[in-house]
Symmetry: C2
Subunit: 243 residues, 2 copies
DNA sequence: CGAATAAATATTGTTGACAATATTCTGCCG
DNA sequence: CGGCAGAATATTGTCAACAATATTTATTCG
């Protein structure tokens, strides 16, 4: 556990604070620092072999990004995303991803559309066999490619930030049942619209794809809550599962 | 100039770093710290009557937000937005504002739509007389109302962040000539769509409104560059005006 | 035995000092 | 006179210590 300090000096091309920020972010996204967990300055500083100052700066930055919440005099905590906020994020993501699709249709290279088609066809087998483990990484690459091909770094940055935040939501958006097949069908509409260079269709298809994802999450959480015997309807406060 | 320290202790409900962050952000948006200017830690610390640590933390946060750029070992600078990035921001803003309009049409209160109509009618006189000074604040309120009425705090936060960033673009998006009348006409489409609770029309109207703004900025900068005798076409590097 | 209070502990907030790096100034040489 | 080298200066990066606040533990009283 002590060689984290070594891996650390390598990253340190910029400043300590930046390296610490990257490291803490990785710990959060890895689940090493679970959602809602306290982020103790001293402990992290010791683990990285630095003083508290860089850690504090990193925490501030992660707070601005929305991955950490600092409570004055009470410490920093890995932010917990409730259902209501997750739904909000989906709404923003839909708009952003829609625009990404639109821009890719408008100005994406032929090579990019080719790669998109290729990825899409790779996913067919996984979708038909409902094999989540092979579908997920391709799915990620599919979305990433569109956001990248849109040629708007600001858009890409915002989109990725939202995706990161979504990982702080308690429900892993695991795809289950026919979800893979549905997702694949939606991708199909996207690929066709982009290939046809139909900007509005691409927008609609991308927007709708995220929107469907939002609805699936909503349905799923509702189902979970009912399974736990809670009365459906109303935004039930999901009780904290602790740190 | 010493009473900035007093106004400071009042804001200090949270932590010093947060207060410093707010203050520096205000200085940037006010133009007190001009675009491209250096952000000297020690000087700011002394002016606020604190040590450098809170300033450093604030700078980190503002870097994450995109208002400041820190160069390792070389200091922090107020970020300069070039034309290309401004256009990117407009594209993201279009998507976000479109979604805001859509959501307001879907779930905005009747009271909110009423206020929107009221604001809109207030703007008529200013638009007809091309009176920018009275149009601008109403215009801001108009946009703000839509973003607020959308009922999505994440969306509102992202949108406002983009608006702030846009202020780091050299060209104040001053409206000139018939711009006010054009803007007013676009607003009209928005108000009608929201009143009709037509989500898709509201989306289109809001999206298009920002898109038109983007085109106006593009045209304007191109005109400026030609006026300065530069060859049109190509993203001419606008030479730094210094700090 | 439980609740309220007070001491003890731990953690965050802030500071000033030192180290490392960049920038500016000065004087020398071509 | 101009450019380069090195010293002097200024600024950022990092740290460890102190202060302030929150949390936990111990204690006393009802």
């Amino acid at each position: 556990m002590a060689d984290i300090r070594e891996a650390f000096q390598l990253i340190r091309s910029t400043s300590l604070a930046t390296a610490v920020e990257r490291e803490i972010e990785a710990m959060i996204l890895n689940g090493d620092l679970p959602v809602g967990a306290r982020v103790p300055e001293l402990e992290l500083a010791e683990r990285f072999g630095v003083s508290r100052s860089p850690v504090r700066e990193a925490v501030r930055a992660l707070d601005a990004v929305g991955l950490i919440e600092v409570q004055p005099n009470r410490g920093a905590y890995v932010r917990k995303i409730e259902l209501s906020e997750a739904l909000e994020v989906y709404e923003v993501r839909a708009a952003l991803f829609g625009q990404a699709g639109r821009l890719m249709a408008l100005r994406g290279t032929a090579e990019a559309t080719g790669r998109l088609r290729g990825l899409h066809e790779e996913m067919l087998a996984a979708a038909e066999t409902h094999h989540f483990e092979s579908y997920a990484p391709l799915n990620f690459a599919f979305h990433e490619l569109i956001v990248e091909a849109a040629g708007n770094r600001t858009l890409a940055g915002q989109y990725r930030m939202l995706v990161k935040r979504l990982r702080l939501f308690r429900t892993r958006n695991l795809m289950f049942g026919d979800t893979l097949a549905l997702s694949y069908r939606e991708h199909d509409a996207i690929v066709r619209a982009v290939e046809a260079r139909d900007a509005e269709a691409a927008f609609a298809a991308c927007f709708e794809h995220v929107e469907q994802g939002r609805k699936r999450v909503m349905e799923r959480v509702k189902a979970e809550e009912e399974a736990e015997g809670r009365p459906p309807g109303g935004l039930a406060r999901t009780q904290s599962t602790g740190a």
